[in-house]
């Protein structure tokens, strides 16, 4: 069939609807992969969480029993309670990366000799792998040979076993995570600061604004897009805190640094994990928590689009 044949006769269905179909054709590969690798597994997890399965034999349908067990673990202040609590601590404490990143960015947003070098030094922790960050901080915290105890020893404070104390361990890991995360937020704000309108600063200055008032009323509103992105990546970072925990404490001491993602891995996929259904139930809970944030992000982006 040639082009000539097409133009001679009435136009083909494809040609008539080209405008409408083309976007879908371009979207198709992405939609397909998203459906197969993201949407479908969500429903599979839901389904699996209703079964008891060791990953080898036949799965046994147990209804809501896995969720019931999770509920009792929560009531008994057991592993699930600890994981959920730690997840919340992670979400809240990790947000410190945003103001910290902002202030470093403000500090570095000047023109002096070698500022590029300073900027890259501050950005450096984000470039190295999370595993390396975890190892470095593990050695830093080491109760016998670590630098931390030597340093607090100078000011006369007693030795502290950061990663061996069940009340401190989560904060210790979060601190390690904040190091690269702050660098990430800093780079977002640095690019944001480039886009700040100098005329508005000038106008603000003429009106007598300076210091905090200048920052709060003139600079920050212009940094809104950067703040939004920093918020998104920090929340996501807090929810995927798995690697640092695995490297630094392996969930310990006695399970007090677990988060939901790590707990799920432990019961379903680790050396001793044979409870696929239970792991899936934890994953579903984690997904529901994430869903709150996803919904919020989508909603605020939608609002922004409409506002234009």
């Amino acid at each position: 069939m040639s082009d000539a044949a097409l133009t001679d006769h009435q136009e083909s269905w494809f040609h008539r609807n080209q405008q409408a179909i083309t976007p879908w054709l371009f979207l198709a590969p992405g939609v397909l992969f998203f459906a197969v690798y993201v949407i479908a597994p969500i429903f599979q997890s839901f389904n699996l969480s209703l079964y008891e399965w060791d990953g080898l034999g036949t799965a046994e349908f147990v209804g809501m029993r896995n969720y019931e067990d999770l509920y009792w673990e929560f009531v008994d202040r057991d592993a699930f309670y600890t994981s959920l609590k730690n997840n919340l601590i992670w979400l809240l404490a990790y947000l410190l990366a945003i103001p910290a990143g902002l202030f470093i960015a403000l500090f570095l947003n000047q023109t002096v000799m070698g500022i590029r070098l300073y900027k890259s030094l501050f950005f450096f922790p984000f470039v190295i792998s999370q595993v390396v960050v975890g190892l470095v901080f593990t050695w830093f915290y080491d109760p016998t040979f670590g630098l931390l105890n030597t340093m607090i020893g100078w000011v006369g404070l007693g030795p502290v076993n950061m990663l061996g104390d069940e009340t401190l361990v989560t904060y210790g890991i979060i601190l390690a995570g904040l190091w690269p995360q702050t660098a990430y937020c800093m780079i977002l704000y640095l690019t944001g600061l480039n886009a700040v309108d100098p005329e508005q600063i000038e106008a603000g200055r003429l009106d007598g604004a300076k210091g905090w008032r200048m920052l709060w009323h003139v600079v920050l509103p212009q940094l809104r897009p950067a703040t939004f992105i920093a918020f998104v990546v920090t929340i996501i970072g807090a929810l995927r805190s798995f690697d640092l925990i695995s490297i630094m404490t392996n969930g310990g001491p006695f399970g007090s640094s677990r988060v939901l993602a790590f707990y799920m891995f432990e019961v379903a996929l680790s050396e001793y994990g044979f409870r696929m259904g239970y792991g899936a139930a934890i994953a579903v809970i984690l997904f529901l928590i994430m869903l709150c944030f996803i919904a919020y992000f989508l909603w605020s982006m939608y609002r922004e689009e409409r506002g234009r």
Binding site: D54, G55, L56, G57, D69, D76, D78, Y141, D142, P143, T144, N161, L163, G164, T249, N250, G252, P253, F254, G255, E266, L269, S270, E271, Y272, G273, F274, R275
Partner: protein, 418 residues
């Protein structure tokens, strides 16, 4: 009478069969998956394959060595999806999930062959589930107390054989400003070793096995007695501080530097201790002392094994490989001090002339009347092991929480054993 006749007939048939297969040339592919990924075990594995290949030139052997930790999770996938002909694993309860799922081949026929039945009698129990054998062992090693002989001499101490002597020794060691024992409990299993010994010495091998198989209660008086003994050591400061932050390797320097006098460990700790500079004059070994009088001594001796997956393609060659692995000569070679440095499982093999191997061999063969256990996380189901070992670590840090910990373990028992 009839039974013995049948057994004889069976063994005659098997000998005939074995003689046949030994001559028949093996052909095709033999795929071996191994978790012997550390340098020395890796060389041993490759050496074994090479020697087996020379015996069967027409056989094409493919050896895949997988990282030892990664192997523990990968085995579930490859046994179902892409089974090799031979795979390494561990004895006792660790086999259970795969045996129950029908993923391991029943190799009771090999165990009926006289060469194996006699040579490997001591490990038959650890390979048996439902009266059938599911694999063959290739090596095992003793656990016990490795200690700094020079520190003991300095303080005028003798190897303890009773709990009273042990406590007296420990008091002197603590008084000299050292810890009696180093331990790194970050990965939990080291605390499992302590529980194994304390419980087997306090309540005996049979109670220990009842507990690990779910027949006895974690809130029983016997278990409380075990923890009370453990607490005596904890309260006197016998263990190093902050052990919950260290792996077993990271706990070694305390012993090397003389901050701790001893280490309850498997024989694999000897190599790194020697590499760190301790000579055989400084390093020695003793059997964990008796606690309750009249309780027969029992030991931990984890056994590593070879299995044939049920979905294997070349089971004939796989069986021949298993025969080769457990043969007395091969056992002598692979367990030698310059190879695995462990104990051979075949009683006709010879133990390499190494101080610790000799002591371990003597201990396991003549001074372990109570029985030989595998290890806490191999004898107990995986789920129970992980919950319990976490409890042990918590107990070692916060001994006052014992009641809460035991209640948690008892709840886990109710859920796991059905």
């Amino acid at each position: 009478m009839l039974k013995s006749f049948r057994a004889t007939a069976a063994s005659v048939a098997l000998i005939a069969g074995m003689a046949g297969s030994a001559h028949a040339d093996l052909t095709g592919d033999l795929v071996i998956f191994s978790d012997m990924s550390n340098p020395a075990p890796r060389a041993v594995m490759e050496g074994m394959v090479e020697r087996f290949g020379e015996m069967h030139p027409d056989l094409n052997i493919e050896l895949t060595i997988i990282d030892r930790e990664a192997y523990k999770t990968q085995i579930r996938n490859f046994l179902t999806a892409n089974a090799p002909d031979v795979a390494t694993w561990y004895a006792a309860n660790r086999m259970t999930p795969y045996v129950e799922a029908g993923l391991f081949e029943d190799v009771s026929d090999l165990w009926a062959e006289p060469a194996i039945a006699e040579g490997l009698a001591s490990t038959k129990g650890a390979m048996t589930i439902d009266d059938k054998q599911w694999g063959v062992p290739y090596t095992y090693y003793q656990w016990g107390v490795y200690y700094r002989k020079d520190i003991f001499e300095e303080l005028g101490l003798q190897e303890p054989t009773t709990w009273a002597e042990e406590m007296a020794n420990c008091e002197k060691i603590v008084a000299s400003g050292r810890a009696c024992y180093t331990i790194g409990s970050k990965f939990l299993w080291t605390a499992g070793g302590w529980f194994d010994y304390l419980n087997m010495r306090t309540n005996g091998f049979d109670f220990h096995m009842d507990l690990l198989t779910g027949k006895a209660s974690w809130e029983s008086d016997e278990v409380r007695e075990t923890f009370a003994n453990w607490r005596q050591l904890i309260d006197m400061g016998a263990f190093i501080d902050n052990h919950q932050s260290y792996s077993w390797q990271e706990a070694l320097p305390f012993m090397v530097q003389g901050d701790a006098a001893a280490y309850l460990m498997g024989n694999f700790a000897v190599a790194p201790l020697r590499e760190a500079g301790l000579t055989d004059d400084q390093l020695d070994f003793y059997q964990f002392p008796a606690i309750t009088e009249g309780v027969a001594l029992a030991e931990d001796a984890p056994t590593d094994t070879f299995h044939i997956p049920a979905n294997a393609a070349n089971k004939e060659a796989a069986r021949e490989f298993l025969r080769f692995v457990v043969s007395a000569d091969n056992q002598t070679v692979i367990n030698a001090g310059d190879a695995l440095g462990q104990l051979p499982v075949n009683s006709n093999s010879s133990v390499d002339d190494d101080k610790f191997l000799n002591e371990g061999f003597a201990m396991l063969s003549s001074n372990s009347p109570g029985g030989v256990a595998q290890f806490f996380d191999r004898d107990a189901p995986a789920e129970m092991a992980s919950v319990a070992m976490e409890g042990f670590q918590e107990f070692m840090v916060k001994p006052d929480e014992l009641d809460r910990i035991l209640a948690r373990l008892e709840r886990a028992r109710g859920r796991i054993y059905k």
